[in-house]
Amino acid sequence: MNTTQAKAVSQSMASAGRLVRALKDFIYRAGIVAIGAILLFFLILLKSKTTANFQLKPWVFSYAIFVTAFELSRIVSAMFYKKSFGSLVGKTSTDAEVYEPRVAFVIPCKNEEKDIRNTVTKCFEVNYPREKLEVLVVNDGSTDGTMRILAELKTEYPDLRVVNWPKNQGKRWAMAAGFKISKAEIIIQMDSDSSVDPMSFRELVDPFQNLQVSAVCASGEPQNADKNILTKMQAAYYFMSFQILKAAESTYDTVFCCSGCCSAYRKSAVMPVLYDWLAESFLGKPVTWGDDRALTSHLLKRGGRTVFNDKAQAYTIVPENLKKLLVQQLRWKKSWIINFFFTIRFIFKKQPFVTAFYYLPLIAISFLTPIMAFDALVFTPLTTHAFPFYYVLGVLLITAIMALYYHYLDKNNKYWPYLFLWALFTMFVLSFVIVWAAVRIQDRNWGTR
């Protein structure tokens, strides 16, 4: 066999390999579509079994259609995400001139002696020119050895900036200080227990090439996912809420909450709203949590675009026991309720499309679901002594469609089965937390963290 022949053979083998891969890929996609169609069929079958006829009970019928359509609309929107995100920056990103603005990490911390070293170290490891990178830690009145560790780090990284507040001022103030002090164009806000994947760091910065972009949200992933079943459930939930729900929001450049675990902001966009954000209060009391959501809202109010980049990867620590998880969820729900009163006043003017097809339905569903869930899970079973089989099955079916899309997005993410557990947990527990959140709205404590 001469070399030409060998080359030809290896070429044909390579092309055969490509063909097999393409075929496998095609079968996989076709399988996903087929399973999706089957699930949708069963969903409709189930709805038709449980939903009363439109003429007889128009509200129940409409609610069923509405909720299902809403859930599916998230997936549909998420499917357009890549296209939308791709057109955000345009083709200039690959040009000779690399986009490298000055970037600052702002890390507020309080009593984080365990995690702070790791967080800071990770910041300096990112794939970005050191001279354009700023790391700024605000020690917000720590009473443990945090300051000592920060001093140590200062010797290791001379360009680390530490702001030391002897008295606790609150996370929001610490973040605001960071925004004020830093000279960077782009400010990355992170929780003290979060870290960003050094290799995908640039993905957090790149979208700012589009001057309308005010904030970029990274995809968060629990670092302690494998700890127990609760963290695995949260891993699935994080994947869904970032890769599907935030991606869906980002399709229309309107991410409603650039997650506190790791998001980047354009300083020039934040500064005009900084004091409004700091002064946020609700029913006469300052709001102590939900600063990420509040800041995003202020940016949206000014007409900024807020986007999600699925390729920017960040890690965070999630609650490992039920009580902490519930406290966190309660806080998030409260901040969601408070933010609703703020957002609803401007969002229709700024984002009529998103308001009509996402935000208003979301609000309707958030407040209707506890009622419907109570009726299906508590009231009807108690009055008719029947297990709400069809309701649970309906929720699991729509979750299955979510899980299918989840699996399609990332074949290697092994947590997708836990999405079902999370759905059950949401249905039986979390859908009622919003009621508790509304009742306890005036309790502005963080609870234990």
Binding site: I44, K47, S48, N53, I65, T68, A69, V76, F80, T251
Partner: protein
Amino acid sequence: MTKAMFLLVMVAIVFAMIGGISLMQNKYQYYLRLQYAVLQWDYLKTEIAYIDYNYGGVGNWFTQHKKSDPVPLDGKDAKLIPVLVYHGIITDPNWKPDGTNISLQDFQNQMFALKAAGWQTISMEDYLAFIQNKKQLPEKSFLLTFDDGRKDSFYNGDPVLRAVGYEATMFVITGASMDDGPSPFHLSREELQQMIKTGRWEMGSHTQNGHGSVPVNSAGKWNHFLTNEMWLAGKNKLETEPEYLKRITTDLEGAKLDLENKLGVKPVLAFAYPYGDYGQDPSNFPQDQSILDNIVSSIYPISFIQASNNDYVANPADGSAISKRIEVDSSIDSAHLVSMLDNSRYKNLDYTDDFSKDNGWLEGWGSRRIDNNEMLVGATASDDSASTFLSGSSLWKNYLMSVKAEILSSDSFSLVARYIGEDDYATCDFSGDAVELSQKVHGQDRPTIEARLWNEITPGVAVSAAIEVNGNTATCYLNGTQVLTGTIDPALDRGGIGFKMWDPAHKGTLVVRNLKVVGMPSAFPVK
């Protein structure tokens, strides 16, 4: 652009969901539509079959005259109207005639033949108006009915009705048809509505849940729901008459209300007795017939039973609340059915019959044969007597019937006049040693009116015999001589002619020839 695409996809999804849900929720509706679509094919097929029938084969479509070119009816009005009753129409090729149902092929042949012979269906409203003497209808009108509300009678029968332009009444067991779940056997409410919409079907009552049996004694015997007092096992007794009344009334009124409220049938005109049992069948409640008749006629203007062998097949305009129906199944071929209906029409007086063909001599008992210009009426192995009566003669009043009669291997025969039914008639009985004038009224044999010793009847010797009825007087003649005369019951105010013979040895045969019936001017008015 993305927003437009998103909206497009979401609109598609919402439409798909609403469509999918309503499709599955109304899957029965869609199933019905599918069935109806299939039915369209049957309509077409049957139309073609009908054209084919009319022209005697595809080749003759353009050259032959239609068979069913309307037979001129010379403007006569019907005096008698026959009613046909069918049950199921069967398409299963392995089905064997069962005495109740009919194969689709036979049904189609019968309808095509009736149409070709000029017979036309009428509506229940017209029928009722005719019976009540409020409306004249053309001759060759008949009423077509189906019992039990069976799916197969609609799905198989409707294309035939459509092809020939007939209408029919379906007697529905409302409890079986109006219940929520569709049944594989009974037509559903939706199907009944569909039927009404075609304009070819009317609905009548066949009880609500009374088409069945109830326990009738402590031994666990069951019998017909309507005509028996129910055994109350809990109380260890039969229900009382008021309880019976309540049960029956509730059911029959319930059926009427079902038709009114669930099908919009207004007014509900007709009722058909299940099994044709209006109280004549054995029952544990002998008074049932009149009680039941009272209940039924208080709820329904007209009711239907099945005609027995001894009944005329067509109904007169006598205001009766009960009509008799000819039960048709696969044992009756289409030519026979047509002649049966043709012969059931009113026969004018004077009437002569040379027995060159059958003009509608109905067999009560025994056998009857028309051959060689004579009619043979004979006992059979199972019947020791034989009787026959003339279809279409039921309305005759005053007449003299004369005939050449010969009795073979027996010594007695009777000429029958004023035959209303097997329970009501008058006879002149001729035997070897006597002539008697007798009558049966409301099923009771009345004592012989007149008898005269006589001995001119010899087997094998033809005699000329006659019976004359005129008002309340009946007269018997033998060989041109008036033998005796007497007064008959006023209940026998009209009725047709017939023959009877009796031979305990099961061998006797009566041969009759040259029948003549001459109308008489009424001597004095009949009641």
